[in-house]
Amino acid sequence: MLSIIVVLPFFSALLLGIVYLGNTKAKRYTFYTIIGVGTPMIMTLLSFIVTYQVINGSDTLHTTLLQWIAIGDLNISIAFMADRLSVVMISFITFIGTLIHIYAAGYMKEDEAYGKFFAYFNLFMGSMLLLVLSDNPIMMFVGWELVGLCSYLLIGFYHHDTANITAANKAFILNRVGDFGFIMALALLFVHGAEGGFTFEAIATHISAIDPEMLSLIGILLFVGAMGKSAQIPLYVWLPDAMAGPTPVSALIHAATMVTAGVYMVARYSFIYVEIPDVGIFIASIGAASALFAAIIACYQSDIKKILAYSTMSQLGYMFIAVGLGAYSAGIFHVFTHAFFKALLFMGAGAVIIALHHEQNIFKMGGLKKHLKLVYITMFIATLAISGIPPFAGFFSKDAILVTAFTSEHYIIWGMGTLTALLTAFYMFRMLFSVFHAQAKEEHKLQALPKTMTQPLVVLAIGAASAGFLGLNEAYGGHALINTFLSLPDMKLHVSHATEYMLGGLNVILALLGMGLAYTLFAKNAEEAKENTRFKSLVIHTFYIDELYDILIVKPLLKISRLIENIIDPKIFDGFINLNIWGYLQSAEMFGTLQNGKVRYYALYILVGLSAISCYMLIKLEVL
């Protein structure tokens, strides 16, 4: 069953791809939809069955599809493992994935490359499940790279515009920078700790054999991979640009699933990270910095999808704070709730964009409250959730993270997280009010939205409102179901209820403050941010990080390339060879002059030669 969940989407992608390439002009809407949307539906069903089995059996399920390679000690199989962590992941990935597929069937309906889209989309689902279900690091890496490929293909989906391809390239290359770290970590892990085999379970039992310094290095390098995939400082710059892809792609890949793979990875390797808490603090710091940094930028963006992209980066930062500080299940819990409300926000944004004929600037929208009622209500719920207003999902998961930071006495990280919470509420409501409440600048002729686009929003809104209850902890009268179920090696913290209420209360107050501020500034008349101060213009230009990358990396690389082309190859290497050829020709000419056809010269040569030989013989015979 596990194998089917992973393999099925690959086959459907292959089928869709072949049919599409067979005749790219043909309209086969029904066929593509049945295969493309049917596949994730079956996957969801199967995932739920697997989840049910794991919950009731409480055992880890294993299946081996085939042996991949066996060289020396490297014995890798394409094998899957459903433990508690992975079933939580697959159940929401397939479920939300299916909803987004349904949504995409409406969103992409008019697109010429509809078949291609679903081929890529299904390929992504397969790759993502490979990543999550794999029982060994190598296959996880394969899935990790393949989701990157799908991300590349889908960001560049509208390939006529080169800017989109540039964005796609940027995403792939920066992800590969992360993967560079990832693969080094895997190689080191294999070289130092693969006595018992190279599956997660085997490595975990032999982890003590690796010396702590090496383990720290491995931990850091693994996290470099996570930085790339989950868009953390400094490898985040691809995520805002990735919004060039169709909106369902942003919802599925760049919000709900793929970008959270980095968090999943840290949780998956938690057996390493519990040994190296210092690296964990480093991870948490990067997370906190990314959370705050992205939130600041989000406050000044005008493009609805870019706001959501920075918001994703910011929320991912929270997740890394959690997993960095050893609260793995809190991190995964936030991954879980975030998937609901962020997917919903993106899909709502997509609905607005479609309704307004591809307008993405929130300040050109306004007043859509009445016209897009359903979208408005669902997005409002999602915004409440992400801002951390109880009882919506985001409050509980975010609260758990901040409580962890506070009680483990990482006050700076906690402070940054709390400030981010304030900013989050501000920029999210800024977006919401600008789009739906503020006075419309112009009359909109709205395009009608198909049911396939609006119905999934309702389902997600229910999730965004209620998913938090799964992780309700004691202070709020729950049993932290999801945390207990995950049974990850969490750091044990003793938190008094009073602290919890205090911190939770503070967060709610800050969220309401942010909301109120946004209301006064944007609910009536929304204006785009102006570059009237140094700080503002710095933020609006996203701190010129792209330009910095250009100066530090891109330009020098091109310069070296040209240097090789124009100087090193022709002047030095060929220069050396040509020097020899020149010398050869010169000597040929020199010897040529000797051969002048005059007998008396030839007689002289003979004489010289004979004398030389005689001298040599005389020396040899030791006469001289």
Binding site: Y20, L21, T24, L66, Q67, W68, I69, A70, I71, G72, L74, I78, K116, I138, F141, V142, E145, L146, L149, Y152, G156, H159, H160, D161, T162, I165, T166, N169, F172, I173, R176, V177, D179, F180, I183, M184, A187, L188, F190, V191, L557, L558, I560, S561, R562, I564, E565, D569, F573, D574, I577
Partner: protein, 492 residues
């Protein structure tokens, strides 16, 4: 036919070419004959692979005296190393001939058949003089094909490749002759058979010089950095079939040579050269890749790409552990498939656009989706995307590198990044965006899809199920490695 199967595989193309030449066959018959010979050799090799015993050593050996007075023997055989090379050669020929189907110039076909005999002979020879003979034989058709059927500065470029390769060949010939002579000195009989010469023992200094003779030839063929300036011009000027053979087969013969003759004759001495070559290979890995970024000519870009990956393969050989060795050997196969694919695509592109310059291309994906798919697929498999064989090979080499030394490992792992930059930027400018060329672009036709499909399928198979292929070479490779390590250990 199966009695002297190896000889048949070597000489069938040559014999057919000679018969065709004698009867002055018209080009239609000639190309049919060529295609026929390639298919028959393919089947012979598949039969051979099926009957090959992966646990046995040298098999299907044929030995016959040739010039007895000088000890030259006709001595051929096959082991895991030559089997892989042989499979590659024969697998690539039918697609190449399918690609060439509309070629009207007879010389083209004769040269290709001669080339097949040359490269096949070289990988099967166990006598060094015989090897040398085939080694030079394969050069001749390349020289003619670049000089006569090439483009650009074809005569200059063909001269350049010939002179540089002959420089290497000469030094190798000198080493071979010296080895043969020393064998005569010590035993009183002439022999150039590899197994005989391997028994010779000299002082370290002599070994170093003798090894240098061979290594120079192989370093130029691969080419390692510093010996490479023939490469881009030759690839740029050569017609597509010649480019495919050069990058997929001939460059790999340099690697093959290091393995067969380098480790066969002087494994302990190679350790003396290992640091130098490891450094050269690591430099090459990045040097070529960075150079490729700004290259505008697709053929030359993938020439550099090929240089970069061959440096990686060469690196793997000098990291003497099973991961790096398996990785290198695996890479020989998968890189041959991928680079054959990409050069064929460039050839098909040229047929349509009459240009291979990136700056004159763009927007192909919109006009020809099938073409774009295959092109992107091969480009990505060059970049070592997981799911294609290249990834497996690179992974093994990276692990092998880390096994040797962490810093070598770090530099080796840059292969994850190095190919990425030029490949993706190239894809952006060729396939995507708006077309800046108004030429009508016809998508791939059925014949072209058929000739490319086997390469795609093999690349995916090697990527998702390497365990189908590794048993073919793993047992013998481990033994070979153990012997080499044993010899190296004994010398210390």
């Amino acid at each position: 036919m199966m009695d002297h199967i190896l000889s048949n595989i070597i000489f069938l193309p040559l014999i057919i070419a000679m018969v065709m030449g004698v009867v002055q066959a018209p080009v239609k018959v000639l190309r049919l004959g060529a295609f026929f010979s390639s298919v028959v050799t393919l089947f012979l090799v598949l039969w051979l692979a099926y009957h090959y015993d992966p646990h046995g050593g040298m098999q299907f050996v044929e030995q016959a005296p040739w010039i007895q007075s000088s000890g030259f023997t006709y001595f051929i055989g096959i082991d895991f190393l030559s089997l892989i090379m042989l499979l590659l050669i024969t697998l690539l020929m039918p697609p190449l001939y399918l690609y060439m189907m509309h070629e009207k110039r007879k010389g083209y076909w004769y040269n290709m058949m001669l080339l097949q005999t040359g490269v096949t002979g070289a990988v099967l020879s166990l006598d060094l003089v015989l090897f040398y003979l085939f080694w030079e034989t394969m050069l001749l058709p390349i020289f003619i094909m670049i000089g006569k059927y090439g483009n650009g500065l074809r005569q200059y470029n063909s001269m350049k490749i010939i002179l540089m390769t002959i420089l290497g060949s000469m030094s190798m010939l000198f080493s071979i002759m010296y080895l043969g002579y020393m064998y005569f000195e010590t035993t009183g009989v002439w022999s150039f058979a590899l197994q005989d010469l391997a028994t010779l023992d000299f002082d370290a200094q002599t070994f170093i010089w003798l090894a240098a003779g061979f290594l120079l030839a192989f370093a130029i063929k691969i080419p390692l950095v510093g010996f490479h300036t023939w490469m881009a011009p030759a690839y740029g000027s050569a017609p597509t079939p010649a480019v495919v053979i050069m990058s997929s087969i001939m460059a790999k013969l340099g690697i093959y040579g290091i393995w067969r003759f380098g480790f066969g004759l002087f494994e302990t001495t190679l350790i003396y050269y290992a640091p130098t070559i490891i450094v050269l290979a690591l430099i090459g890995l990045l040097y070529y890749a960075i150079r490729a970024i700004t290259e505008d000519n697709l053929r030359r870009m993938f020439a550099y790409s090929s240089g970069s990956h061959l440096s990686l393969i060469a690196l793997g050989i000098f990291l003497t552990n099973i991961y790096a060795w398996s990785g290198s050997l695996y890479f020989i196969g998968t890189h041959a498939l991928a680079s054959a694919g990409i050069f064929l695509m460039i050839g098909l592109l040229y047929k349509r656009f009459k240009t291979v310059h990136i700056s004159e291309l763009g927007g192909i994906a919109g006009k020809a989706p099938k073409f774009a798919f295959f092109f992107a697929f091969f480009a990505l498999s060059i970049a070592g995307l997981p799911g294609t064989g290249g990834f497996v090979a690179e992974l093994l080499i990276i692990i092998g590198a880390f096994k040797t030394n962490i810093w070598i490992g770090v530099f080796t792992a840059t292969t994850m990044l190095s190919a990425m930059v030029y490949i993706f930027w190239m894809l952006q400018r060729t396939l995507f965006g708006t077309a800046n060329n108004t030429t009508e672009f016809s998508d791939l036709n059925l014949r072209e899809v058929i000739l490319l499909l086997p390469l795609v399928i093999l690349l995916i198979l090697t990527g998702i199920a390497p365990s189908l292929f590794t048993p073919m070479f793993e047992p013998q490779l481990s033994l070979f490695l153990q012997d080499a390590l044993h010899a190296i250990g004994a010398s210390k």
